[in-house]
Amino acid sequence: MRVSAVLIAAALLLSAGCAQHEPRGSGDLGVIVERSAGRLQVVDTTRQKSIGAIAGLGDLSHASVVYSRDGRYAYVFGRDGGLTKVDLLRLRIERRIVQSGNSIGGAISQDGKLVAAANYTPGGVRVFDAETLEMLADIPATYGDGGQRAKVVGLEDAAGSRFAFSLFEAGEIWVADLSVPRAPKIQKFRNIGRQPYDALITLDGRYYLAGLFGEDGVAMLDLWHPERGVKRVLDGYGKGEQPLPVFKMPHLEGWAMAGHLAFLPAVGRHEVLVVDTITWREAGRIAVAGQPVFVMAQPDGRRIWVNFALPHNDTVQVIDTETRNIVHTLKPGRAVLHMEFTARGESVWISARDDNRVTVYDTATFERKAELAAEQPSGIFFTVRALRFGF
């Protein structure tokens, strides 16, 4: 009797253990940031549901995430300077450090070995071993006479263990080469324009573009030819019009590219800018419902999805890239903060902070496919980012 009970218990334990260790891939996983709770939900994008939560990540306002190249580990950059390495398969924190006083985001190197964090306080970039989170390099963003430090924005990974980033107060773009991680080589580009606020790198890793807040225009660096210096594109796109107040900074990461056209948020205008990436000249503008925050292309490039700053932050508009017409307007909830496409774009996940939910839409029919409860959700990040430059 007693023996059989023990046996049954052992068998149960064993089967539970087996179920727990059922191997699975990570290619269709992702995370939803619950900003106020300091928590991530791990989601399965195939089953369109949450598979667990990981708490204890600190202040996640404006948190962003990059992935290890096997898509198993998420590196989470918190506002409070926290850098947390999270294991999506075991649903636990692998390592966590507080690397600065105030951070805005980060990037992972081409080879996946280095994780870099962009910091506001103290202004600069810190580079860590992706495996251990040991700090390998500290790059202070000093400018002027050297006594001041700028806030770093738009940190992007470039080919060859390089990271490109912009200095907000200084109006500079720096490219750090970390081929020898403990001895970074830094190339500085000065006078690139006033107040770069965010940046992007093209999908091929060639062009680094920094949006300027202090003037109408975008600063562009060709990373194949850094010796040619930073050029100004879309110069004076406002053409002297009085810009509207900006209630939320646009984001450039996850920008939209369709064929040879790029679609960018206009700063202080209810417009999406269309840019020809062969000539890097403005190719048009599309009037939209409000000030765009994210302008994102479906992976097939056929449609562009746009969300907006206050007071239009309950709206998402969809633009057809062939006709440049708005083909659909959605109301996913109050305070739409982010959108994320699955790898091949059959669905898009949209967070509505003030309605505490993430809605999954079919991108072909705009039908709601699923709804997930989440506490004040902000960013949504799928593991497919692991395989791309600039995500």
Partner: protein
């Protein structure tokens, strides 16, 4: 005589209280304002208001700033910086209430 002496301060106090109440946003509006500051101002100043692209708005960081300066900055923005004017969303009373709360240490949501 004695009665009036007691009475007058009482009336004065009631007037002051009445004024204070009339000059504050209604409780439901206050809750909205707390959310606005934490969440939307928080996109630049941080959810904890310890700063981001915008400067910190915790009480210690604002110690040398008069309430009037904060109220004005909230309503009219700071040209040359990313701080926009919020007067399309906020009344004078709202802005004054936010400025006063910021100086005291801003309340948490809920």
């Amino acid at each position: 005589m004695r009665g009036t002496r007691v009475l007058w301060p009482g009336v004065a106090l009631a007037c002051v209280l009445g004024l204070a109440i009339a000059d504050e946003p209604a409780p439901a509006r206050q809750a909205e304002l707390v959310r606005l500051v934490r969440q939307d101002c928080g996109s630049c100043h941080g959810l904890t208001l310890k700063g981001g692209l915008g400067p910190p708005l915790v009480a210690a960081a604002l110690a040398d700033k008069p309430a009037e300066y904060l109220r004005y900055t909230i309503l009219y923005g700071r040209p040359g910086t990313p701080m926009p004017p919020w007067r399309a969303f906020l009344t004078e009373t709202d802005a004054e209430w936010i400025a006063t709360r910021l100086l005291e240490g801003f309340p948490d949501a809920r």
